[in-house]
Symmetry: C2
Subunit: 314 residues, 2 copies
Protein backbone atom coordinates (compact mmCIF):
# COMPACT_ATOMS: atom_id res chain seq x y z
CA UNK A 1 0.00 0.00 0.00
CA UNK A 2 1.99 2.97 -1.23
CA UNK A 3 0.49 5.47 1.22
CA UNK A 4 2.41 3.75 3.98
CA UNK A 5 5.60 3.88 1.95
CA UNK A 6 5.08 7.63 1.59
CA UNK A 7 4.37 8.05 5.29
CA UNK A 8 7.36 5.92 6.26
CA UNK A 9 9.52 8.00 3.96
CA UNK A 10 8.32 11.18 5.64
CA UNK A 11 8.62 9.71 9.13
CA UNK A 12 12.18 8.53 8.51
CA UNK A 13 13.27 12.04 7.56
CA UNK A 14 11.28 14.15 10.03
CA UNK A 15 13.18 15.61 12.97
CA UNK A 16 11.68 15.63 16.42
CA UNK A 17 11.94 17.82 19.52
CA UNK A 18 11.87 17.11 23.23
CA UNK A 19 8.35 18.57 23.53
CA UNK A 20 6.95 16.08 20.99
CA UNK A 21 5.46 13.35 23.18
CA UNK A 22 4.28 11.35 20.16
CA UNK A 23 5.01 12.23 16.54
CA UNK A 24 4.17 10.66 13.18
CA UNK A 25 2.74 7.13 13.27
CA UNK A 26 -0.33 7.18 15.50
CA UNK A 27 -3.83 8.57 14.95
CA UNK A 28 -2.68 11.96 16.17
CA UNK A 29 0.39 13.70 17.58
CA UNK A 30 0.76 14.51 21.28
CA UNK A 31 2.56 17.73 22.17
CA UNK A 32 3.62 19.46 25.37
CA UNK A 33 2.94 23.20 25.51
CA UNK A 34 5.23 24.75 28.16
CA UNK A 35 3.64 26.42 31.18
CA UNK A 36 3.10 30.14 30.65
CA UNK A 37 2.95 29.84 26.88
CA UNK A 38 -0.01 30.24 24.57
CA UNK A 39 -0.43 28.21 21.41
CA UNK A 40 -0.52 30.02 18.05
CA UNK A 41 -2.00 28.12 15.09
CA UNK A 42 -2.06 29.00 11.38
CA UNK A 43 -3.10 26.93 8.36
CA UNK A 44 -2.56 27.66 4.67
CA UNK A 45 -2.94 25.63 1.50
CA UNK A 46 -1.05 25.93 -1.77
CA UNK A 47 -2.82 24.54 -4.84
CA UNK A 48 -1.06 23.83 -8.14
CA UNK A 49 -1.73 26.46 -10.82
CA UNK A 50 -3.33 28.74 -8.23
CA UNK A 51 -0.51 29.42 -5.77
CA UNK A 52 2.39 28.21 -7.88
CA UNK A 53 2.89 27.36 -11.55
CA UNK A 54 2.42 23.60 -11.97
CA UNK A 55 6.00 23.31 -13.24
CA UNK A 56 7.52 24.65 -10.02
CA UNK A 57 10.31 22.43 -8.66
CA UNK A 58 9.15 20.08 -5.90
CA UNK A 59 11.85 21.44 -3.57
CA UNK A 60 10.49 24.96 -3.98
CA UNK A 61 6.88 23.85 -3.41
CA UNK A 62 7.98 22.17 -0.19
CA UNK A 63 9.87 25.23 1.00
CA UNK A 64 7.11 27.65 0.10
CA UNK A 65 4.29 25.61 1.66
CA UNK A 66 6.01 25.82 5.04
CA UNK A 67 7.32 29.37 4.51
CA UNK A 68 3.90 30.94 3.96
CA UNK A 69 2.70 29.33 7.18
CA UNK A 70 5.76 30.36 9.18
CA UNK A 71 5.15 33.87 7.87
CA UNK A 72 1.75 33.80 9.58
CA UNK A 73 3.40 32.77 12.85
CA UNK A 74 5.95 35.55 12.36
CA UNK A 75 3.14 38.07 12.00
CA UNK A 76 2.05 37.02 15.52
CA UNK A 77 5.64 37.12 16.87
CA UNK A 78 5.31 33.43 17.72
CA UNK A 79 8.26 31.06 18.02
CA UNK A 80 7.64 28.18 15.56
CA UNK A 81 7.44 24.72 17.15
CA UNK A 82 5.54 22.03 15.22
CA UNK A 83 3.77 21.48 11.94
CA UNK A 84 1.49 18.97 10.23
CA UNK A 85 1.37 18.35 6.49
CA UNK A 86 -1.47 17.11 4.32
CA UNK A 87 -0.20 16.28 0.87
CA UNK A 88 -2.52 15.47 -2.03
CA UNK A 89 -0.67 13.96 -4.99
CA UNK A 90 -1.93 12.77 -8.37
CA UNK A 91 0.17 9.63 -7.90
CA UNK A 92 2.50 8.17 -5.30
CA UNK A 93 5.78 9.52 -6.67
CA UNK A 94 8.61 8.84 -4.24
CA UNK A 95 11.20 10.88 -6.16
CA UNK A 96 8.89 13.89 -6.15
CA UNK A 97 8.22 13.39 -2.45
CA UNK A 98 11.93 13.25 -1.65
CA UNK A 99 12.55 16.50 -3.49
CA UNK A 100 9.53 18.11 -1.82
CA UNK A 101 10.87 17.06 1.57
CA UNK A 102 14.30 18.48 0.73
CA UNK A 103 12.76 21.95 0.58
CA UNK A 104 10.18 21.51 3.32
CA UNK A 105 12.50 19.96 5.88
CA UNK A 106 15.40 22.33 5.18
CA UNK A 107 13.22 25.26 6.22
CA UNK A 108 11.76 23.26 9.13
CA UNK A 109 15.26 22.46 10.40
CA UNK A 110 16.32 26.10 10.09
CA UNK A 111 13.50 27.12 12.42
CA UNK A 112 13.63 24.07 14.68
CA UNK A 113 10.15 22.98 13.62
CA UNK A 114 9.18 19.31 14.04
CA UNK A 115 6.86 17.71 11.47
CA UNK A 116 4.56 15.69 13.73
CA UNK A 117 1.70 14.40 11.57
CA UNK A 118 -0.77 14.87 8.76
CA UNK A 119 -1.76 12.66 5.88
CA UNK A 120 -0.98 11.82 2.28
CA UNK A 121 -3.72 11.15 -0.18
CA UNK A 122 -4.59 11.00 -3.84
CA UNK A 123 -5.90 14.14 -5.50
CA UNK A 124 -4.88 17.14 -7.58
CA UNK A 125 -1.52 18.45 -6.32
CA UNK A 126 -2.22 20.41 -3.15
CA UNK A 127 -0.19 21.09 -0.03
CA UNK A 128 -1.91 22.02 3.19
CA UNK A 129 0.18 22.87 6.24
CA UNK A 130 -0.78 23.71 9.80
CA UNK A 131 1.90 25.33 11.94
CA UNK A 132 2.00 25.66 15.69
CA UNK A 133 3.99 28.29 17.51
CA UNK A 134 4.36 29.53 21.06
CA UNK A 135 4.12 32.98 22.62
CA UNK A 136 4.34 34.20 26.18
CA UNK A 137 0.80 34.57 27.46
CA UNK A 138 -0.75 37.77 26.19
CA UNK A 139 2.26 38.70 24.04
CA UNK A 140 1.03 37.72 20.56
CA UNK A 141 1.45 40.54 18.04
CA UNK A 142 -2.00 41.15 16.57
CA UNK A 143 -3.58 43.07 13.73
CA UNK A 144 -5.80 45.10 16.01
CA UNK A 145 -3.28 47.17 17.96
CA UNK A 146 -2.47 49.96 15.47
CA UNK A 147 -2.87 53.43 16.99
CA UNK A 148 -3.07 56.82 15.26
CA UNK A 149 0.38 58.37 15.30
CA UNK A 150 2.14 55.00 14.89
CA UNK A 151 4.75 54.68 12.19
CA UNK A 152 3.95 52.07 9.56
CA UNK A 153 6.89 49.84 8.65
CA UNK A 154 7.61 47.06 6.23
CA UNK A 155 10.43 44.52 6.19
CA UNK A 156 12.62 43.61 3.18
CA UNK A 157 11.54 44.68 -0.29
CA UNK A 158 8.15 44.60 -1.99
CA UNK A 159 6.96 43.44 -5.38
CA UNK A 160 9.65 40.91 -6.27
CA UNK A 161 7.45 37.83 -6.20
CA UNK A 162 4.74 39.52 -8.24
CA UNK A 163 7.41 40.69 -10.69
CA UNK A 164 8.63 37.10 -11.15
CA UNK A 165 5.07 35.98 -11.74
CA UNK A 166 4.55 38.79 -14.27
CA UNK A 167 7.67 37.69 -16.17
CA UNK A 168 6.48 34.08 -16.07
CA UNK A 169 3.06 35.07 -17.45
CA UNK A 170 4.66 37.08 -20.24
CA UNK A 171 6.77 34.07 -21.15
CA UNK A 172 10.00 36.04 -20.88
CA UNK A 173 12.88 34.63 -18.86
CA UNK A 174 12.46 35.10 -15.12
CA UNK A 175 15.21 37.02 -13.38
CA UNK A 176 16.89 34.66 -10.91
CA UNK A 177 16.76 37.06 -7.98
CA UNK A 178 13.05 37.66 -8.52
CA UNK A 179 12.37 33.94 -9.00
CA UNK A 180 14.05 33.20 -5.68
CA UNK A 181 11.68 35.63 -3.99
CA UNK A 182 8.67 33.90 -5.57
CA UNK A 183 9.77 30.31 -4.95
CA UNK A 184 11.71 30.65 -1.69
CA UNK A 185 10.09 33.33 0.43
CA UNK A 186 11.90 33.93 3.72
CA UNK A 187 9.54 34.10 6.70
CA UNK A 188 10.65 36.99 8.92
CA UNK A 189 10.67 34.98 12.11
CA UNK A 190 13.71 36.44 13.85
CA UNK A 191 12.69 40.02 13.09
CA UNK A 192 9.21 39.25 14.41
CA UNK A 193 10.50 37.79 17.66
CA UNK A 194 12.54 40.96 18.17
CA UNK A 195 9.45 43.10 17.54
CA UNK A 196 7.39 41.44 20.29
CA UNK A 197 6.63 44.02 22.96
CA UNK A 198 7.83 46.82 20.63
CA UNK A 199 5.42 46.91 17.68
CA UNK A 200 1.74 47.70 18.21
CA UNK A 201 0.36 45.60 15.36
CA UNK A 202 1.53 43.35 12.55
CA UNK A 203 0.36 41.46 9.45
CA UNK A 204 2.26 39.55 6.80
CA UNK A 205 2.10 40.84 3.24
CA UNK A 206 0.71 37.93 1.27
CA UNK A 207 -2.10 39.52 -0.75
CA UNK A 208 -0.35 42.82 -1.51
CA UNK A 209 0.70 45.75 0.66
CA UNK A 210 -2.39 47.94 0.23
CA UNK A 211 -4.75 45.00 0.77
CA UNK A 212 -2.93 43.72 3.83
CA UNK A 213 -2.37 47.17 5.35
CA UNK A 214 -6.11 47.57 4.79
CA UNK A 215 -6.83 44.44 6.81
CA UNK A 216 -4.61 45.67 9.63
CA UNK A 217 -6.32 49.07 9.63
CA UNK A 218 -9.82 47.55 9.50
CA UNK A 219 -9.07 45.32 12.51
CA UNK A 220 -7.58 48.26 14.41
CA UNK A 221 -10.32 50.73 13.50
CA UNK A 222 -7.82 53.20 12.05
CA UNK A 223 -6.58 54.46 8.69
CA UNK A 224 -3.12 54.71 7.16
CA UNK A 225 -1.18 56.94 4.79
CA UNK A 226 1.57 55.33 2.73
CA UNK A 227 4.13 57.26 0.66
CA UNK A 228 4.56 55.20 -2.50
CA UNK A 229 7.95 56.67 -3.37
CA UNK A 230 9.34 55.32 -0.13
CA UNK A 231 8.42 51.66 -0.69
CA UNK A 232 11.52 49.48 -0.58
CA UNK A 233 12.51 47.93 -3.93
CA UNK A 234 15.14 45.33 -4.75
CA UNK A 235 17.89 46.13 -7.24
CA UNK A 236 16.35 43.63 -9.66
CA UNK A 237 12.99 45.36 -9.52
CA UNK A 238 14.59 48.80 -10.07
CA UNK A 239 16.57 47.63 -13.07
CA UNK A 240 13.85 45.59 -14.78
CA UNK A 241 10.65 47.58 -14.27
CA UNK A 242 9.82 51.24 -14.85
CA UNK A 243 8.45 53.44 -12.10
CA UNK A 244 4.75 52.88 -12.81
CA UNK A 245 5.08 49.10 -13.20
CA UNK A 246 7.15 48.98 -10.03
CA UNK A 247 4.54 50.93 -8.11
CA UNK A 248 1.81 48.47 -9.08
CA UNK A 249 3.97 45.48 -8.15
CA UNK A 250 5.11 46.94 -4.84
CA UNK A 251 1.76 48.25 -3.70
CA UNK A 252 -0.52 45.47 -4.93
CA UNK A 253 1.63 42.41 -5.74
CA UNK A 254 1.10 39.39 -3.55
CA UNK A 255 3.39 36.65 -2.24
CA UNK A 256 6.04 38.89 -0.65
CA UNK A 257 5.71 37.46 2.87
CA UNK A 258 7.24 40.57 4.36
CA UNK A 259 5.93 41.95 7.63
CA UNK A 260 3.92 45.17 7.70
CA UNK A 261 3.77 46.51 11.25
CA UNK A 262 2.99 49.65 13.19
CA UNK A 263 4.93 50.97 16.14
CA UNK A 264 5.06 54.16 18.18
CA UNK A 265 7.42 56.88 17.00
CA UNK A 266 9.43 56.46 20.22
CA UNK A 267 10.32 52.90 19.19
CA UNK A 268 12.25 53.82 16.04
CA UNK A 269 15.67 53.13 17.50
CA UNK A 270 14.52 49.82 19.00
CA UNK A 271 13.11 48.77 15.65
CA UNK A 272 16.33 49.63 13.86
CA UNK A 273 18.17 47.50 16.42
CA UNK A 274 15.68 44.64 15.97
CA UNK A 275 16.28 44.83 12.22
CA UNK A 276 20.03 44.84 12.63
CA UNK A 277 20.05 41.96 15.09
CA UNK A 278 17.87 39.86 12.77
CA UNK A 279 19.77 40.89 9.65
CA UNK A 280 16.52 42.05 8.02
CA UNK A 281 16.05 45.48 6.51
CA UNK A 282 13.07 47.58 7.58
CA UNK A 283 11.63 50.73 6.03
CA UNK A 284 9.23 53.33 7.39
CA UNK A 285 6.57 53.64 4.70
CA UNK A 286 3.90 55.77 6.32
CA UNK A 287 1.83 56.31 9.39
CA UNK A 288 -1.37 55.30 11.09
CA UNK A 289 -4.07 57.98 11.16
CA UNK A 290 -7.53 58.33 12.63
CA UNK A 291 -10.35 57.32 10.31
CA UNK A 292 -10.46 54.38 8.00
CA UNK A 293 -8.90 53.09 4.79
CA UNK A 294 -5.40 53.19 3.38
CA UNK A 295 -4.39 56.23 1.32
CA UNK A 296 -1.50 55.53 -1.06
CA UNK A 297 0.14 58.89 -1.81
CA UNK A 298 2.13 59.99 -4.85
CA UNK A 299 5.02 62.45 -4.54
CA UNK A 300 2.73 65.42 -5.14
CA UNK A 301 0.51 64.36 -2.26
CA UNK A 302 -2.37 63.17 -4.44
CA UNK A 303 -3.88 59.78 -3.87
CA UNK A 304 -3.00 56.93 -6.24
CA UNK A 305 -5.86 54.60 -7.11
CA UNK A 306 -4.81 51.22 -8.43
CA UNK A 307 -7.25 49.17 -10.48
CA UNK A 308 -7.21 46.63 -7.62
CA UNK A 309 -5.51 46.62 -4.24
CA UNK A 310 -4.26 43.06 -4.02
CA UNK A 311 -4.46 39.42 -4.88
CA UNK A 312 -7.96 38.22 -5.77
CA UNK A 313 -8.44 34.72 -4.44
CA UNK A 314 -11.39 33.69 -6.62
CA UNK B 1 -12.77 40.33 -3.01
CA UNK B 2 -14.95 37.30 -2.51
CA UNK B 3 -12.46 35.44 -0.29
CA UNK B 4 -13.20 37.93 2.44
CA UNK B 5 -16.91 37.46 1.98
CA UNK B 6 -16.37 33.72 2.47
CA UNK B 7 -14.21 34.25 5.54
CA UNK B 8 -16.67 36.74 7.02
CA UNK B 9 -19.47 34.25 6.44
CA UNK B 10 -17.51 31.57 8.27
CA UNK B 11 -16.45 33.93 11.05
CA UNK B 12 -20.02 35.11 11.62
CA UNK B 13 -21.20 31.54 12.17
CA UNK B 14 -18.27 30.05 14.10
CA UNK B 15 -18.74 29.56 17.83
CA UNK B 16 -15.98 30.37 20.25
CA UNK B 17 -14.83 29.09 23.66
CA UNK B 18 -13.32 30.76 26.70
CA UNK B 19 -9.90 29.22 25.92
CA UNK B 20 -9.79 30.87 22.48
CA UNK B 21 -7.71 34.00 23.08
CA UNK B 22 -7.97 35.06 19.42
CA UNK B 23 -10.04 33.29 16.78
CA UNK B 24 -10.71 33.86 13.07
CA UNK B 25 -9.57 37.18 11.64
CA UNK B 26 -5.87 37.56 12.36
CA UNK B 27 -2.81 35.87 10.82
CA UNK B 28 -3.17 32.99 13.29
CA UNK B 29 -5.30 31.89 16.22
CA UNK B 30 -4.11 32.12 19.82
CA UNK B 31 -5.22 29.35 22.18
CA UNK B 32 -4.79 28.61 25.87
CA UNK B 33 -3.91 25.00 26.72
CA UNK B 34 -4.83 24.35 30.37
CA UNK B 35 -2.07 23.46 32.82
CA UNK B 36 -1.58 19.71 33.15
CA UNK B 37 -2.98 18.98 29.70
CA UNK B 38 -1.18 17.82 26.60
CA UNK B 39 -2.17 18.91 23.10
CA UNK B 40 -3.36 16.26 20.62
CA UNK B 41 -3.30 17.20 16.92
CA UNK B 42 -4.69 15.37 13.87
CA UNK B 43 -5.09 16.49 10.25
CA UNK B 44 -7.02 14.85 7.44
CA UNK B 45 -8.05 15.94 3.98
CA UNK B 46 -11.08 14.88 1.95
CA UNK B 47 -10.79 15.29 -1.82
CA UNK B 48 -13.77 15.20 -4.19
CA UNK B 49 -14.07 11.92 -6.09
CA UNK B 50 -11.44 10.32 -3.86
CA UNK B 51 -12.98 10.48 -0.39
CA UNK B 52 -16.55 11.24 -1.38
CA UNK B 53 -18.54 11.12 -4.64
CA UNK B 54 -18.49 14.60 -6.19
CA UNK B 55 -22.30 14.75 -5.95
CA UNK B 56 -22.31 14.40 -2.15
CA UNK B 57 -24.44 17.05 -0.44
CA UNK B 58 -22.40 19.98 0.88
CA UNK B 59 -23.85 19.45 4.39
CA UNK B 60 -22.56 15.88 4.41
CA UNK B 61 -19.11 16.88 3.16
CA UNK B 62 -18.92 19.42 5.98
CA UNK B 63 -19.99 16.90 8.59
CA UNK B 64 -17.68 14.17 7.35
CA UNK B 65 -14.60 16.41 7.03
CA UNK B 66 -14.80 17.20 10.72
CA UNK B 67 -16.00 13.72 11.75
CA UNK B 68 -13.00 11.86 10.31
CA UNK B 69 -10.71 14.21 12.20
CA UNK B 70 -12.63 13.92 15.48
CA UNK B 71 -12.40 10.16 15.02
CA UNK B 72 -8.61 10.48 15.13
CA UNK B 73 -8.87 12.45 18.38
CA UNK B 74 -11.23 9.78 19.73
CA UNK B 75 -8.66 7.11 18.94
CA UNK B 76 -6.31 8.99 21.30
CA UNK B 77 -9.04 9.46 23.97
CA UNK B 78 -8.61 13.22 23.59
CA UNK B 79 -11.31 15.76 24.40
CA UNK B 80 -11.90 17.83 21.23
CA UNK B 81 -11.29 21.55 21.61
CA UNK B 82 -10.49 23.53 18.45
CA UNK B 83 -10.22 23.09 14.71
CA UNK B 84 -8.98 24.91 11.64
CA UNK B 85 -10.40 24.50 8.14
CA UNK B 86 -8.75 24.96 4.78
CA UNK B 87 -11.34 24.92 2.03
CA UNK B 88 -10.45 24.78 -1.66
CA UNK B 89 -13.41 25.56 -3.91
CA UNK B 90 -13.69 25.73 -7.69
CA UNK B 91 -15.60 28.99 -7.29
CA UNK B 92 -16.77 31.22 -4.44
CA UNK B 93 -20.24 29.74 -3.98
CA UNK B 94 -21.88 31.21 -0.88
CA UNK B 95 -24.90 28.89 -0.97
CA UNK B 96 -22.62 25.85 -1.10
CA UNK B 97 -20.55 27.28 1.74
CA UNK B 98 -23.62 27.85 3.90
CA UNK B 99 -24.75 24.25 3.40
CA UNK B 100 -21.23 22.98 4.08
CA UNK B 101 -21.13 24.97 7.31
CA UNK B 102 -24.53 23.59 8.34
CA UNK B 103 -23.00 20.12 8.52
CA UNK B 104 -19.56 21.11 9.76
CA UNK B 105 -20.73 23.44 12.51
CA UNK B 106 -23.52 21.13 13.70
CA UNK B 107 -20.95 18.47 14.52
CA UNK B 108 -18.55 21.06 15.95
CA UNK B 109 -21.27 22.39 18.25
CA UNK B 110 -22.16 18.87 19.38
CA UNK B 111 -18.60 18.34 20.56
CA UNK B 112 -17.96 21.88 21.78
CA UNK B 113 -15.29 22.45 19.14
CA UNK B 114 -14.45 26.04 18.15
CA UNK B 115 -13.44 26.77 14.55
CA UNK B 116 -10.56 29.18 15.05
CA UNK B 117 -8.89 29.68 11.67
CA UNK B 118 -7.74 28.33 8.34
CA UNK B 119 -8.11 29.63 4.83
CA UNK B 120 -10.32 29.53 1.76
CA UNK B 121 -8.84 29.37 -1.67
CA UNK B 122 -9.52 28.48 -5.27
CA UNK B 123 -8.83 24.94 -6.41
CA UNK B 124 -10.43 21.56 -7.02
CA UNK B 125 -12.91 20.83 -4.21
CA UNK B 126 -10.89 19.74 -1.20
CA UNK B 127 -11.45 20.05 2.53
CA UNK B 128 -8.52 19.92 4.91
CA UNK B 129 -9.16 20.04 8.64
CA UNK B 130 -6.81 20.13 11.60
CA UNK B 131 -8.31 19.29 14.99
CA UNK B 132 -6.85 19.96 18.40
CA UNK B 133 -7.78 18.03 21.50
CA UNK B 134 -6.63 17.81 25.09
CA UNK B 135 -5.58 14.90 27.29
CA UNK B 136 -4.28 14.69 30.81
CA UNK B 137 -0.50 14.47 30.61
CA UNK B 138 0.59 10.94 29.74
CA UNK B 139 -2.99 9.66 29.30
CA UNK B 140 -3.32 9.61 25.49
CA UNK B 141 -4.54 6.24 24.21
CA UNK B 142 -1.96 5.06 21.70
CA UNK B 143 -1.54 2.35 19.10
CA UNK B 144 1.51 0.90 20.74
CA UNK B 145 0.11 -0.44 24.03
CA UNK B 146 -1.47 -3.74 22.92
CA UNK B 147 -0.29 -6.70 25.02
CA UNK B 148 -0.61 -10.44 24.32
CA UNK B 149 -3.67 -11.71 26.15
CA UNK B 150 -5.64 -8.48 25.60
CA UNK B 151 -9.13 -8.74 24.21
CA UNK B 152 -9.59 -6.98 20.88
CA UNK B 153 -12.78 -4.91 20.66
CA UNK B 154 -14.56 -2.83 18.09
CA UNK B 155 -17.31 -0.24 18.51
CA UNK B 156 -20.56 -0.03 16.55
CA UNK B 157 -20.92 -2.03 13.34
CA UNK B 158 -18.51 -2.60 10.47
CA UNK B 159 -18.83 -2.47 6.70
CA UNK B 160 -21.79 -0.13 6.34
CA UNK B 161 -19.93 2.74 4.71
CA UNK B 162 -18.19 0.42 2.27
CA UNK B 163 -21.56 -1.21 1.50
CA UNK B 164 -23.04 2.17 0.63
CA UNK B 165 -20.09 2.91 -1.61
CA UNK B 166 -20.48 -0.49 -3.29
CA UNK B 167 -24.15 0.24 -3.98
CA UNK B 168 -23.23 3.67 -5.35
CA UNK B 169 -20.60 2.15 -7.66
CA UNK B 170 -23.08 -0.43 -8.92
CA UNK B 171 -25.54 2.34 -9.67
CA UNK B 172 -28.28 0.72 -7.60
CA UNK B 173 -30.17 2.80 -5.06
CA UNK B 174 -28.25 3.30 -1.82
CA UNK B 175 -29.96 2.05 1.32
CA UNK B 176 -30.64 5.09 3.52
CA UNK B 177 -29.20 3.55 6.68
CA UNK B 178 -26.00 2.61 4.86
CA UNK B 179 -25.78 6.02 3.18
CA UNK B 180 -26.03 7.71 6.57
CA UNK B 181 -23.03 5.68 7.75
CA UNK B 182 -21.02 6.74 4.69
CA UNK B 183 -21.98 10.43 4.72
CA UNK B 184 -22.44 11.08 8.43
CA UNK B 185 -19.95 8.98 10.35
CA UNK B 186 -20.23 9.38 14.11
CA UNK B 187 -16.88 9.89 15.83
CA UNK B 188 -16.85 7.74 18.98
CA UNK B 189 -15.68 10.53 21.25
CA UNK B 190 -17.68 9.77 24.38
CA UNK B 191 -16.84 6.06 24.27
CA UNK B 192 -13.17 6.95 23.82
CA UNK B 193 -13.14 9.29 26.81
CA UNK B 194 -14.62 6.50 28.91
CA UNK B 195 -11.92 4.10 27.69
CA UNK B 196 -9.03 6.32 28.83
CA UNK B 197 -7.11 4.50 31.52
CA UNK B 198 -8.98 1.26 30.74
CA UNK B 199 -7.96 0.24 27.21
CA UNK B 200 -4.34 -0.59 26.40
CA UNK B 201 -4.34 0.59 22.78
CA UNK B 202 -6.68 2.06 20.18
CA UNK B 203 -6.96 2.99 16.50
CA UNK B 204 -9.85 4.24 14.44
CA UNK B 205 -11.08 2.04 11.60
CA UNK B 206 -10.77 4.25 8.53
CA UNK B 207 -8.91 2.01 6.07
CA UNK B 208 -10.64 -1.26 7.00
CA UNK B 209 -10.56 -3.45 10.09
CA UNK B 210 -7.79 -5.83 9.06
CA UNK B 211 -5.59 -3.02 7.79
CA UNK B 212 -6.08 -0.87 10.87
CA UNK B 213 -5.79 -3.73 13.34
CA UNK B 214 -2.58 -4.50 11.47
CA UNK B 215 -1.27 -0.99 12.10
CA UNK B 216 -2.10 -1.29 15.78
CA UNK B 217 -0.33 -4.66 16.01
CA UNK B 218 2.70 -3.42 14.10
CA UNK B 219 3.13 -0.45 16.44
CA UNK B 220 2.68 -2.69 19.49
CA UNK B 221 4.96 -5.47 18.24
CA UNK B 222 2.22 -8.08 18.62
CA UNK B 223 -0.19 -10.13 16.51
CA UNK B 224 -3.95 -10.57 16.65
CA UNK B 225 -6.57 -13.22 15.94
CA UNK B 226 -9.99 -12.05 14.81
CA UNK B 227 -13.06 -14.32 14.55
CA UNK B 228 -14.84 -13.16 11.40
CA UNK B 229 -18.20 -14.60 12.39
CA UNK B 230 -18.25 -12.34 15.42
CA UNK B 231 -17.83 -9.04 13.61
CA UNK B 232 -20.75 -6.74 14.35
CA UNK B 233 -23.07 -6.09 11.41
CA UNK B 234 -25.95 -3.66 11.05
CA UNK B 235 -29.42 -4.91 10.20
CA UNK B 236 -29.14 -3.25 6.79
CA UNK B 237 -25.91 -5.08 6.02
CA UNK B 238 -27.40 -8.41 7.11
CA UNK B 239 -30.48 -7.96 4.95
CA UNK B 240 -28.80 -6.63 1.82
CA UNK B 241 -25.55 -8.61 1.52
CA UNK B 242 -24.82 -12.35 1.64
CA UNK B 243 -22.32 -13.78 4.09
CA UNK B 244 -19.25 -13.65 1.84
CA UNK B 245 -19.93 -10.12 0.61
CA UNK B 246 -20.56 -9.03 4.20
CA UNK B 247 -17.29 -10.54 5.34
CA UNK B 248 -15.34 -8.58 2.74
CA UNK B 249 -17.11 -5.35 3.62
CA UNK B 250 -16.74 -5.80 7.37
CA UNK B 251 -13.15 -6.94 7.37
CA UNK B 252 -11.71 -4.74 4.63
CA UNK B 253 -14.16 -1.89 3.97
CA UNK B 254 -12.96 1.59 4.87
CA UNK B 255 -14.70 4.69 6.21
CA UNK B 256 -16.36 3.10 9.26
CA UNK B 257 -14.72 5.41 11.82
CA UNK B 258 -15.36 2.91 14.58
CA UNK B 259 -12.75 2.37 17.29
CA UNK B 260 -10.71 -0.83 17.40
CA UNK B 261 -9.08 -1.19 20.79
CA UNK B 262 -7.39 -3.72 23.03
CA UNK B 263 -7.91 -4.11 26.75
CA UNK B 264 -7.03 -6.62 29.44
CA UNK B 265 -9.53 -9.43 30.10
CA UNK B 266 -10.08 -8.04 33.60
CA UNK B 267 -11.49 -4.83 32.10
CA UNK B 268 -14.48 -6.45 30.37
CA UNK B 269 -17.06 -5.19 32.83
CA UNK B 270 -15.60 -1.68 32.80
CA UNK B 271 -15.71 -1.64 29.02
CA UNK B 272 -19.34 -2.76 28.99
CA UNK B 273 -20.09 0.09 31.39
CA UNK B 274 -18.16 2.56 29.22
CA UNK B 275 -20.21 1.40 26.25
CA UNK B 276 -23.49 1.72 28.10
CA UNK B 277 -22.64 5.15 29.50
CA UNK B 278 -21.71 6.43 26.03
CA UNK B 279 -24.65 4.72 24.34
CA UNK B 280 -22.27 2.99 21.92
CA UNK B 281 -22.26 -0.74 21.32
CA UNK B 282 -19.00 -2.65 21.61
CA UNK B 283 -18.12 -6.18 20.51
CA UNK B 284 -15.22 -8.45 21.43
CA UNK B 285 -13.86 -9.63 18.10
CA UNK B 286 -10.65 -11.41 19.02
CA UNK B 287 -7.49 -11.24 21.02
CA UNK B 288 -3.95 -9.98 20.94
CA UNK B 289 -1.29 -12.69 20.65
CA UNK B 290 2.48 -12.85 20.63
CA UNK B 291 4.07 -12.68 17.20
CA UNK B 292 3.06 -10.44 14.34
CA UNK B 293 0.29 -9.96 11.81
CA UNK B 294 -3.48 -10.24 12.02
CA UNK B 295 -5.07 -13.64 11.42
CA UNK B 296 -8.71 -13.43 10.32
CA UNK B 297 -10.32 -16.76 11.21
CA UNK B 298 -13.30 -18.52 9.65
CA UNK B 299 -15.67 -20.64 11.74
CA UNK B 300 -13.64 -23.79 11.08
CA UNK B 301 -10.52 -22.14 12.45
CA UNK B 302 -8.84 -21.75 9.07
CA UNK B 303 -7.41 -18.40 8.04
CA UNK B 304 -9.32 -16.26 5.57
CA UNK B 305 -7.18 -14.41 3.03
CA UNK B 306 -8.88 -11.45 1.39
CA UNK B 307 -7.58 -10.13 -1.93
CA UNK B 308 -6.61 -6.92 -0.11
CA UNK B 309 -6.82 -5.93 3.53
CA UNK B 310 -8.06 -2.36 3.29
CA UNK B 311 -8.45 0.89 1.46
CA UNK B 312 -5.69 1.63 -1.04
CA UNK B 313 -4.92 5.36 -1.00
CA UNK B 314 -3.17 5.59 -4.36
Amino acid sequence: MPEFELIERIQARADTRSDVVLGIGDDAAVLQVPAGKQLVVAMDTLNADVHFPAGTAAQDIGWKALAVNLSDLAAMAAQPAWCTLSLSLPQADLAWLDAFLDGFLALAAHHGVALVGGDTTRGPLSVCVTVHGLVDAGQALRRDGATPGDDLWVSGTLGDAAAALAQWREGVGIDVALKARLDRPVPRVSLALALAGVAHSCIDVSDGLLADAGHLCARSGVGAEIALAGLPASDALRVLFDEEARRVLQATGGDDYELCFSAPVQARAMIERAAASSDTSVTRIGRIVAGKGVRALLDDGTQWRPSHSGYVHF
